[in-house]
Amino acid sequence: MVNLTIDGIKVSVPEGSTILQAAKEVGIKIPTLCHHPDQAVKANCRVCVCEVEGNRLLAAACAQPVMEGMVVKTRTPKVIEARKTILELILSHHPQDCLNCIRNGNCELQDLANEYFIRDNPFTLKVRGLKKDYSTPSLFRDPDKCVLCRRCIEACTVVQSVNALGLENRGVLSMVVPTMGGDLMDSACVMCGQCIHACPVGAIGEVEEIDKLLAAIADPDKVVVTQIAPAVRVAIGEEVGMKTGDMPMDVFVAGLRQVGFDYVLHTNFTADLTILEEGNELLQRLKEGGTLPMFTSCSPGWINFCETFYPDLLDNLSTCKSPQQMFGPLVKTYWADKMGIDPAKIYSVSIMPCTAKKFEAARPEMNASGYRDVDLVLTTREIGRLFRMSGLDFDKLAGTNFDSWMGAYTGAAVIFGASGGVMEAALRTVYEVVTGKTLEDVNFEVTRGITGIKEAEVDLDGTLVKVAIANGLSNARKLMDQVRAGESPYHFIEIMACPGGCIGGGGQPITKANAKRVERIDSIYVEDEKCAIRKSHENPEVKTLYDEFLHEPLGHKSHELLHTHYQAKNKKYL
């Protein structure tokens, strides 16, 4: 342990700790901007500078290791002048656009400007006037707002190994740019949106489409139907001042009805359906010598990644559409028929934790119903904004149930929201299908948690199935390289593009630390435990769907509506 004094308070911390960590121990908050709890130390914003006795230079608290006997002062006039001046410098190069900004009220720079009461900035405002990038259907970039902390670059390169973002130019002309300074769409960007979570300001955000929803709600000829993805409920409460997981599902549904949705259904329904289709596809591949390992295909960021970086492994991808895209065509065929609604009038909206889902829904092949299958994708954050605008008090709102035919779900669908959930759900079903026995304990603990790569071996009554689970694309890359080299020992691999799975998706409430992802994961399994039915093949509405419409997994109708194909992306720059 190392002993030091910070602002007169004695503190003892493990060797290798930084001043920032030591200060936190004794409740001293040192301001930061480039610092990110799960990333490498950057020390480039210099907002965290402190005085260390005996040193002429100020020390960056985020990077300076503590030393025995060190005397640190975090709020001397010198320190405050330095921090204020640095903030003034950054702010004088930043659009004074807070009121119109997507991060208004949730911005680290805004918070600092407030905490250090920056009023009359002595430097003249100089905004660069750079071009905004709206080239993708998922993400936009506003480079003028960038504070060059580089957290997005680390998210894109280290966490996701996509390398779509990098630095261009030098000095005051430095910019974070997509590959070769082009548009994001021409880069290898997979639209996972992890850069949004990394960004302390509003330089990157989701393409907002709330207005389209409001127009559809206002249109008397449209029947607005929505589906909610498994990971949304655990996080939506964070958007309206509740704790993670605290928004009850029925209250969430009631809120959606209040803001104008005509019917509220659940993506969990098609998550259960996915298990039946994908589980049977796996069994078929195992039986008939199909391409193995089979990869899950629920995560559109991952699909983009595979199409971009591993076009040679597209045959390994399950042909199953994601739950969102299974839901889309079914609502405009099966459900429309059941409800006696003209499918042309249905405006199908999905609520997703994901930015890549916006891109997925816009894929040209996603029109199996004869219409665009999913008309609009809104992120958890966008729904949060809608809720806040609506002025709803969720503590007082009485819950309501989902609408029929595509609203029922099992615990197996709930866990789709967490990394390992698809695998666990599949194992619950595949086990029973293969063995004909009842699974006594449905919990496959080994598949759970935020660990980057998890693996397991499951005994299906004598048949050993080896499975692996990756979350975060740099982890996926490790498993893919193994497959490409012909050295993969696995039969089935689940991959989620985002760290922790969908609960950490690019469309979720701004998530500064993985600790928040872990909280959401825990909340997912609590919900699973509460479900009366926890195996997908026992979902009564899914049974009805097969009885009345699809007839069998992997059947003719399924192939028409629920399965897809993939194409190599020939990206301009890799």
């Binding site: 020390a43 210099r46 990077a63 001046t85 640095i86 060059l148 000095g171 005051v172 430095s174």
Partner: protein, 407 residues
């Protein structure tokens, strides 16, 4: 009367730099031979005792630096020569490499033996392409003669960025990355090139080593000012009669450099100021010219020794205009990594332009002082910390020149 004393330039003009035999005939590589027979710790102790301090600008005790890398446990260690001589007006390293490349190679090889490195790099300024052949020829000859005992040196050319003279930016550049400084600690002797223990020393520092080994630490420590012993090469530019170079003991004063070695100001004009150490150096007025050109003496007057560039201005020069150009230089050369330097150098330039064009006010000068003080203690690396020095020192010593330009 101060006299020139040639240590790092001892072979200047005496040998054909492309002939290793010429160097050997002058006693070359004997120091390496001697060093390799010494116990490593004793060798490092000897360098430490000589009190040789880095000639690149930071002035850290060379032997002490080596001892950190020596003590570090690692499968690989590196010796890197900082030959990215980017300070405008400085060409001392070029003189050494052009005229006596083997003294640099020998110095690096002694360091390699001391710390246990097998691989070295010379990071050469991008604007010195003509030196690549000279260095490679010399390295080739040394290998052929087997004097380096397995130590290998590779020449890497920079691409013109001033910041790559900062040792960690230089390391990043060798690694093939964007030339930007790292935060410290860790310092290169513990985690440097490819995160391995690395000694980065300037050309002039390495060139001093063979003589120190030959003549002993005591001899060297007795030259010049005790706290910064030895000699220093100065290159003179600007309004001075002898625009040339000198190697002098460190107890020589600035006045002697300008008037005795430099021959004073041409055209019978009066002295206005001298900037020492390169573009980021302080401007020094006449009243401080009796300061010896040693590290701590310079620090005491708010100046630095830096690279040894001496830039003299006569009374007719517009010092505010000169400083404005310097501010432009730093805006251009800031790497952009840390906020106070990236934004601060641009603002300094903006404010200097304002003042220089007659549109500034006292408030602008006060703002530059505040900003300059913050930059000098809060920036990530030496570039940003030193960039305000010319502005702060000219405001301090030549305030009337600024006032004359205010609105």
């Amino acid at each position: 009367m101060a006299e020139e004393m040639r240590i790092v330039l001892r072979n200047y003009g005496k040998i054909d730099p492309l002939k290793i035999d010429d160097y050997i005939a002058q006693g070359g590589y004997k120091s390496l031979e001697k060093a390799s027979s010494m116990d490593k710790e004793a060798l490092i102790e000897e360098v430490k005792k000589s009190n040789l301090r880095g000639r690149g600008g930071a002035g850290f005790n060379c032997g002490q630096k080596w001892s950190f890398a020596y003590r570090a446990n690692a499968d690989e260690k590196y010796v890197v020569c900082n030959a990215d001589e980017g300070e405008p007006g400085t060409y001392k390293d070029r003189l050494i490499m052009e005229n006596d490349p083997h003294t640099l190679i020998e110095g690096m090889a002694i360091c390699a033996y001391a710390i246990g490195a097998a691989k070295g790099f010379i990071y050469l300024r991008g604007e010195y392409p003509q030196l690549i052949d000279i260095l490679n020829t010399a390295i080739g000859q040394a290998k052929e003669k087997a004097v380096l005992k397995g130590f290998d040196i590779e020449v890497r050319s920079g691409a013109g960025a001033y910041v790559c003279g900062e040792e960690t930016a230089l390391i990043e550049s060798i690694e093939g990355k964007r030339g930007e400084p790292r935060f410290k600690p860790p310092y290169p002797p513990s985690e440097g090139l490819w995160m391995k223990p690395t000694i980065v020393n300037n050309v002039e520092t390495f060139a001093s080593i063979p003589v120190i080994i030959e003549k002993g630490a005591e001899w060297y420590a007795g030259i010049g000012v005790p706290s910064y012993p030895g000699t220093k090469v100065f290159t003179l530019t600007g309004d001075v009669n002898n625009k040339t170079f000198f190697e002098v003991p460190t107890n020589t004063t600035i006045r002697e450099i300008v008037y005795q070695f430099g021959g004073g100001i041409p055209g019978g004009k009066k002295f206005k100021a001298v900037q020492i150490g390169g573009t980021s150096g302080a401007f020094i007025p006449d009243s401080l010219l009796n300061t010896p050109v040693a590290f701590d003496n310079m620090s005491a007057i708010g100046a630095t020794l830096g690279s040894g560039a001496v830039f003299v201005l006569d009374e007719t020069r517009d010092i505010v205009d000169v400083t404005t150009r310097i501010a432009k230089f730093f805006e251009h050369e800031s790497c952009g990594k840390c906020a106070p330097c990236r934004e601060g150098t641009a603002r300094m330039h903006e404010l200097m332009e304002l003042v220089n064009s007659g549109q500034g006010s006292l408030k602008d000068i006060e703002l530059m002082q505040k900003l300059g003080n913050v930059m000098s203690i809060a920036c990530l690396c030496g570039l940003g910390q030193a960039a305000p020095a010319p502005i702060l020192t000219t405001i301090k010593h030549f305030g009337t020149d600024y006032n004359a330009k205010l609105m």
